[in-house]
């Protein structure tokens, strides 16, 4: 059975479990689901058809700007066979039901990370639409006394042997029909009208008129406002505090300690602190400013970036954990005509979504209501359950549109904090983080020092390859995480050049600096894409080869290689070659350029999707860098929602460039030194050239995700361009003022 068939079957089982959980008996399917929701215009959980023919489609996933709230309903509408212009979209809450085997999904799996929002719902959402369409056809056939196979549809209408009935007329009857056991047929790709078409973001009008509600905008009855003064030093704990002045601030209602995690233990929340609850956000902030807190000495008080980099350098002089050893690496190095070794340093960075963390929580004796911007609503449910002791089925989680994710909101520490505060006070509260809270309390993208070494033969071909990495693993302080598995978050062994270079070794060293770390857009890829594509460029230049041809020679022709990491089961290097050739041609690779001007290229395979960049820069004698032109291309298989694919490629590219240009989180005396956008300078519009192209190169009829793919190859294309322009190789990020002087 193919992977695709299995996915259909699994999703279908989830569909039926849903019926079981709600109605309490087996395989009741759509009609009973309808009864449970108490709305006779509903056909299952996702599809509502109004009398006037307008359609409301439920979106089960968090919308973080990646476009799933548009793309997933497009899949339903396609199979349901309705006009897209008649569709509006409704955000669904977290749906979990308790079964004999634990908790099951009510609305299918919910959560967005690893660029899976579309791919993991590709079969499921199409089946939702096709199932609803089949029920409408069956209802029409029954009403008209016609065989089902004599019926078909056009948008919004069932046609049975020449007679037409609108969906709006059929919905009540369709909702009462049992659900057939077998899955409905799905459309052929050639029949798609909506999938693959240019559509606007469904919420665009609401957004540009200021009506869209984000988590930060939550305002519920009797709600109080809370902020927390968190430990300024990593892993420090509250010793005592004086709240006399804070309580004198008008509007301050309560002040109390929030217990943080034990050093080394998994994080439920990030830091120990003191909560201030007030009648307004500003009163809570003022109250916090008036607190006097004594902190205990922290075990991380001596942590610093300087020490971190020294330790990494030290570790690389020893032998680490060999996590991949293909062929005979040592022998191949010994036999190589040429051996090249380089080090690259990639810093810790922060997610900095523009909407600071926030969460509404109302904990009552027997229930809890959470309203939160999150990427993982099930994690929010678990966090609230852990804090309140309530069973998860009594915790209702509503999701708002999310003001940026980037991986930060995969963790729900701020949900746990909000639940703690509501539980302690009994009030419905909205916890608000400030920008400073967010930048100093993050699950940072791990920093690391990479030592790359390659052996090349007399023809300039790579015969041996190693990456030795000393870093702070993302898996630090994860529950049940053995030390020997820490490397798995930082090195994906099947990444390029696995199976393309016969003798390959990967070696890991862990640095236990006390900074929290987590998933940051294209985890590990965002670092390794830079390191690998920089090193390839260096190898080409060191051996007087053309950087494009050198890469094409390593990648070779289109063929499927086994790929066991996330994004597999295969990796096709020829798809990278195709993209590289495309962006190179578009930008005029090889053309003669004036002094100080250069073109760089790079490509990377990320979680199943392929992207490449070509960038042209000018660097003045004074070291001023201007990005003149960007050409970005993505191969995401089938582009379901091309407008969003282009948007993600634009955004991912800019994120990669912005981060490489100026972003770094540093630590001194156990404290994160950055606090806001003055010392963490996200790129502004002026960085982005007017000559900025994005291209989608279709491949087959299966979509990959797109949220992360556009990022990893952007930074190395930039630094490779800088080298072409100046002969200066950027090996440490961020670029900062390295080009000056």
């Amino acid at each position: 059975m193919s992977a695709r068939k299995q996915a259909v079957r699994l999703n279908r089982r989830e569909f039926l479990i849903a019926g079981t959980g709600v109605a309490g008996s087996l395989v009741l399917g759509l009609p009973r689901m309808t009864a449970a929701d108490g709305d006779e215009r509903m056909l299952g959980f996702f599809v509502q058809i109004n009398a006037d023919g307008s359609i409301v489609i439920g979106s089960n996933q968090p919308e973080i700007g990646q476009g799933v709230r548009t793309a997933l309903p497009m899949l339903v509408a396609e199979e349901l066979d309705v006009e897209w212009s008649t569709v509006s979209v409704r955000q669904m809450p977290l749906g979990i039901v308790k079964t004999a085997d634990g908790y099951a999904w009510k609305y299918g799996g919910q959560g967005v990370g690893g660029s899976t929002g579309l791919t993991s719902n590709w079969d499921y959402m199409r089946e939702v639409g096709a199932t609803a369409r089949r029920q409408l056809i069956r209802a029409a056939a029954k009403r008209l006394g016609v065989a089902e196979d004599q019926c078909s549809t056009r948008p919004g209408v069932v046609i049975c042997a020449g007679q037409e009935v609108t969906y709006g007329e059929l919905i009540a009857e369709a909702a009462l029909l049992d659900l057939p056991a077998e899955p409905p047929p799905l459309k052929d790709i050639d029949d798609y009208r909506i999938v693959g078409s240019q559509q606007r973001t469904v919420d665009a009008h609401e957004i540009v008129t200021g009506k869209t509600k984000y988590g930060v905008d939550t305002a519920e009855a009797d709600m109080r406002y809370a902020v927390i003064a968190r430990a300024p030093v990593l892993n420090a704990r509250v010793k005592s505090f004086d709240d006399t002045a804070a309580r004198e601030i008008a509007g301050v209602l309560d002040v109390f300690t929030v217990e943080g995690p034990e050093m080394g233990e998994p994080y439920v929340i990030l830091a120990s602190g003191v909560a201030v609850v007030a009648t307004s956000t500003w009163a809570a902030m003022k109250g916090r400013n008036a607190l006097r807190i004594d902190w205990e000495q922290s075990p991380s008080a001596a942590d610093s970036s300087e020490k971190f980099w020294q330790e990494n350098q030290q570790m690389l002089r020893s032998e680490g954990q060999v996590v991949l050893d293909d062929g005979d690496y040592d022998g191949a190095i010994a036999a190589a005509e040429r051996v090249v070794t380089r080090q690259y340093r990639v810093p810790f960075v922060s997610h900095a979504p523009l909407e600071p963390q926030n969460c509404y929580a109302h904990v009552q004796e027997d229930r809890c209501h959470i309203i939160v911007p999150t990427q993982m609503p099930s994690g929010a449910s678990r966090a609230a359950a852990a804090v309140t002791g309530l069973p998860r089925e009594n915790i209702h989680v509503d999701m708002t549109r999310v003001g940026g994710g980037f991986g930060r909101r995969l963790t729900n520490d701020y949900v746990a904090e909000a639940a703690m505060i509501s539980k302690k006070t009994g009030w419905p509260i909205k916890l608000q983080w400030t920008r400073e809270d967010d930048m100093r309390n993050d699950f940072y993208r791990p920093g690391g020092l990479h030592e790359m070494r390659a052996g090349l033969n007399g023809d300039g071909r790579v015969t041996a390859w190693t990456q030795r990495l000393a870093s702070g693993s993302k898996y630090y302080r994860r529950p049940n995480m053995p030390d020997e598995d820490l490397w798995k978050a930082e090195l994906y062994p099947d990444d390029f050049p696995r199976r393309l270079v016969a003798n390959m070794r990967l070696e890991y060293f862990h640095n236990a600096i006390g900074l929290p770390r987590g998933s940051w857009r294209a985890p590990a890829h965002n670092v390794n894409g830079f390191v690998v594509q920089s090193f390839l460029d260096e190898l080409a230049h060191e051996t007087d080869q053309d950087p494009l041809q050198f890469r094409l020679d390593v990648l070779g022709e289109a063929r499927e290689l086994e790929y066991g990491n996330h994004g597999g089961p295969t990796f096709n290097p020829g798809r990278l070659s195709r993209l590289l050739k495309f962006v190179a041609e578009r930008i005029g690779y090889g053309k003669s350029l004036p002094k100080g001007r250069g073109i760089g290229i790079a490509t990377h395979f990320t979680f199943g999707g392929y992207a490449a960049h070509a960038i042209e820069v000018t660097v003045s004698d004074a070291g001023d860098l201007i990005i003149e032109r960007v050409v970005a291309a993505i191969d995401c298989g089938l582009a379901v929602h091309p407008n969003a694919v282009e948007a993600q490629l634009e955004g991912g590219t800019i994120d990669g460039l912005s981060t490489a240009l100026g972003l770094e989180i540093t630590v001194r005396d156990g404290q994160v030194q950055q606090s806001n956008f003055d010392d963490y300078p996200l790129a502004r519009l002026s960085m982005v050239p007017a000559q900025f192209e994005t291209h989608i190169l279709p491949w087959d009829d299966v979509p990959t995700g797109v949220g992360e793919m556009g990022l990893p190859s952007a930074a190395p294309a930039l630094t490779n361009a800088i080298f072409a322009a100046t002969g200066r190789r950027i090996r440490n990020l961020p670029i900062g003022d390295q080009l000056k002087g």
């Binding site: 540009v208 200021g210 905008d217 008008a250 979504p353 523009l354 634009e650 994120d655 519009l685 982005v688």
Partner: protein
């Protein structure tokens, strides 16, 4: 008691005068289209117009707004004229990703286009400083040019 107008309506605020306009708009007037992004005047998510000019509302104590007029994203479109040309252009280019910064971007662009009705790329680069974490800058630049066209066409019509 501080009196001022928001979107042409008289409002009063009887809390602390040091409360930033941002929080008065959001917590007290429930005008949540204006966003909190950084609290330090760096990001521009809180951009509104005060006395007809774009300002960072997180940096303005409400006491400084007394007797002045404030325009927020909620007041930019009118029933009579529909969407502002900048909003229209934002829709045409489908600028928003997460959308969180876009109210501030739009308010900044409206003010900018009043001063630079036919802007060059260089003028946009120099004047539009609002942060977008999603990186919608490519479309923002195009949308500003498009809005300039729409405004010019509206004036000549």
């Amino acid at each position: 008691m501080i009196r001022f107008t928001v979107n042409s309506e008289e409002v009063t605020f009887d809390g602390e005068g040091d409360t930033p306009l941002l929080w008065v708009l959001r917590d007290h007037l429930q005008l949540t289209g204006t966003k909190f992004g950084c609290g330090g005047g760096f990001c521009g998510a809180c951009t509104v117009h005060v006395g007809g000019r774009a300002r960072r509302s997180c940096m303005m104590p409400v006491a400084s707004i007394a007797n002045r007029s404030v325009l927020t994203i909620e007041g930019l479109a009118s029933e009579k004229n529909g969407l502002h040309s900048v909003q229209q252009a934002w829709l045409e280019l489908d600028v928003p990703q997460c959308g969180y910064c876009q109210a501030g971007q739009i308010m900044a662009a409206v003010d900018f286009l009043e001063r630079y009705p036919q802007p060059t790329d260089a003028e946009i680069d120099k004047n539009i400083k609002n942060l977008c974490r999603c990186g919608t800058y490519v479309r923002i630049r195009k949308a500003i040019h498009r809005a300039a066209e729409l405004i010019a066409a509206g004036e000549s019509a």
